[in-house]
């Protein structure tokens, strides 16, 4: 096991090296959420949201969006591609423990997510004077950690239903984008009908966004921990892990 952790960290190192050698992909991974931030602030900057402004809303929600993209979207797509190109099958034939390979992928995704969190927080602070909630740092870190872990495990689980690499972008977007639209990420859900709010509260995206919105809200009292939201998010994470263990495949599904 301890040797396995070393191997997993070594995977992270090589994953990272490969990641930065595709500069276009790396560039847009980071620029994409910032573009959204500027666009939403231009579109909705004039509208207040109670005590908070549009930038107060979009800083935490676009952090959530970035974490989901860096973990769920990225893992589901890259692991499916790797599977269909036969990379997973090749790795399976080596002594590298399967979990160490996947842990390397997930840890690298989480590293990128952490970098995005810092960039967006800084961007929000500098451009829109949105204060980072330092006094609630433990809750911020815990919420981000639970969210990143959950959406990583859901990304791995989703590969089990993606039939092939060509279908990966369509399946991934169709599963996550509608949820992002109804979960306080792009659009403030207070104007939405009650039933739609009830639907969105079933899913982890909504709870991740609500927990983060509360943390960034200056009127929130106390440490900012939202155990209810964290529990729902973690529950989805455990379910994702079980589904991944059951349906994950190392063999290409097309040849």
């Amino acid at each position: 096991m301890s040797g396995g952790i070393g191997l997993a960290l070594r995977q992270v190192h090589y994953e990272n090296r490969a990641f930065w050698r595709n500069p276009a992909a790396a560039f847009f991974t980071f620029v994409f959420p910032l573009m959204f931030m500027v666009i939403f602030n231009v579109l909705f900057g004039g509208l207040g949201r109670g005590s908070s402004s549009a930038s107060q809303f979009y800083t935490p929600t676009l952090i959530v969006f970035s974490v989901i993209t860096a973990t769920f979207t990225n893992i589901a797509m890259s692991v499916t591609m790797a599977r269909d190109e036969g990379v997973l099958k090749r790795v399976r034939g080596t002594p590298l423990p399967a979990w160490a390979f996947l842990a390397g992928r997930v840890l690298h995704a989480i590293l990128i997510a952490a970098l995005l969190v810092m960039i967006i927080s800084a961007f929000g602070a500098i451009l829109y004077q949105v204060r980072f909630p330092w006094e609630r740092l433990p809750a911020v870190v815990a919420t981000l950690a639970v969210g990143a872990a959950t959406f990583s495990s859901l990304g791995l689980a989703l590969t089990g239903v993606i039939p092939n690499g060509d279908a990966a972008p369509a399946v991934v977007n169709a599963t996550i984008l509608p949820l992002e639209f109804i979960s306080n990420i792009f659009i403030d859900m207070r104007q939405a009908p009650g039933w739609l709010n009830s639907v969105s509260e079933i899913f982890p995206v909504r709870h991740f966004a609500d927990a983060m919105l509360a943390l960034w809200n200056p009127t929130t009292a106390g440490s900012g921990f939202a155990p209810g939201d964290l529990l729902v998010i973690a529950g989805w994470g455990v379910a994702g892990l079980l589904l991944a263990l059951r349906f994950f495949s190392w063999e290409p599904r097309i040849s």
Binding site: A18, F19, R21, E85, V87, R92, T94
Partner: protein, 279 residues
């Protein structure tokens, strides 16, 4: 597969030869641990591959039919990444040299040609210094010179004492590389042995082919078949039969046109054994 039985000795190059769809890859994937057998006993290096044990995988190297490699790492980085998975890897530069990739060692895998990438497959398989190497159709899609090159690499590995299990649908490949060959067709082994003894070759049947000028006839005592092009004669002792034939031709003052002596090739034997021949 419908019940096959074979064993490969340590240090031997063994080829599974057969047409596409004969069951070569299925067989190899059972031995590698990728597939489960429905029945029967499999023992590879003292392990049952189906149990997917780590110490078994530490001792084997695999070149699968189609496997991807990360495009953005260089050849050298790729080989060191894989070498790190094994307890006693072979020196990375030595592996690169063995796979004939020294000149492209610092190029990214994505920039390599198909043939070079196939050699990266081989280098990755060699990274852990395996005792047993599985090569599943290692030269499919190669041009003739790349195939020769790949053969030299495999022959070099055989000289290092590696045990190699090779699958191929190229007769010449099996003939050049293998110490022993098993011909697979329709899920069964239809012949097994050193390449020279497969099929009729062991029995030494030789065919003599020729034609005669118009107006000449071959005496019936030779027992020749007539074909569109002339005559064909199956013989066991080439020296005697040719002597009789040429003596007759000289005394009758007849030219044996287009005289050919043909040892049946492995290809003929193969086509006959696998039932895909036309004759």
């Amino acid at each position: 597969m419908r019940g096959i039985d074979f064993s490969v000795r340590a240090g031997e190059v063994f080829a599974l030869l057969g047409p596409n769809g004969a069951g070569k890859t299925t067989t190899v994937e059972i031995l590698e641990g990728y597939r489960r057998r429905d029945a029967g006993l499999v023992n590879v290096l003292g392990h049952d591959p189906a149990r997917h044990e780590r110490d078994f995988r530490e001792r084997i190297g695999l070149v699968l039919q189609s496997t991807g490699i990360q495009h953005y790492l260089t050849v050298r980085e790729t080989v060191s990444l894989y070498a790190g998975y094994y307890p006693r890897p072979r020196d990375v530069d030595e592996v690169i040299e063995l796979a004939d990739l020294t000149e492209s060692r610092d190029r990214r895998v994505g920039q390599l040609s198909g043939g070079q990438r196939r050699r990266v497959d081989l280098a990755v398989a060699l990274a852990g210094d395996p005792e047993l190497l599985f090569l599943d159709e290692p030269t499919t899609g190669f041009d003739p010179s790349a195939r020769r090159q790949a053969w030299e690499i495999v022959q070099g590995l055989a000289r290092l004492g590696k045990t190699i299990l090779l699958t191929t649908h190229f007769m010449d490949e099996a003939q050049v590389l293998a110490d022993r060959v098993a011909v697979i067709a329709g899920g069964k082994i239809v012949a097994e042995g050193p390449p020279d003894t497969i099929g009729q070759r062991g029995r030494g049947v030789t065919t003599v082919r020729f034609s005669l000028p118009d107006g000449s006839e071959l005496p019936a005592r030779f027992g020749a078949r007539t074909t569109e092009a002339g005559y064909e004669l199956d013989i066991h002792s080439a020296t005697r039969a040719l002597h009789e034939l040429t003596s007759w031709a000289l005394s009758a003052d007849v030219e044996l046109l287009g005289l050919e002596v043909l040892r049946p090739s492995l290809e003929d034997a193969y086509l006959e054994l696998t039932g895909s021949g036309e004759r």
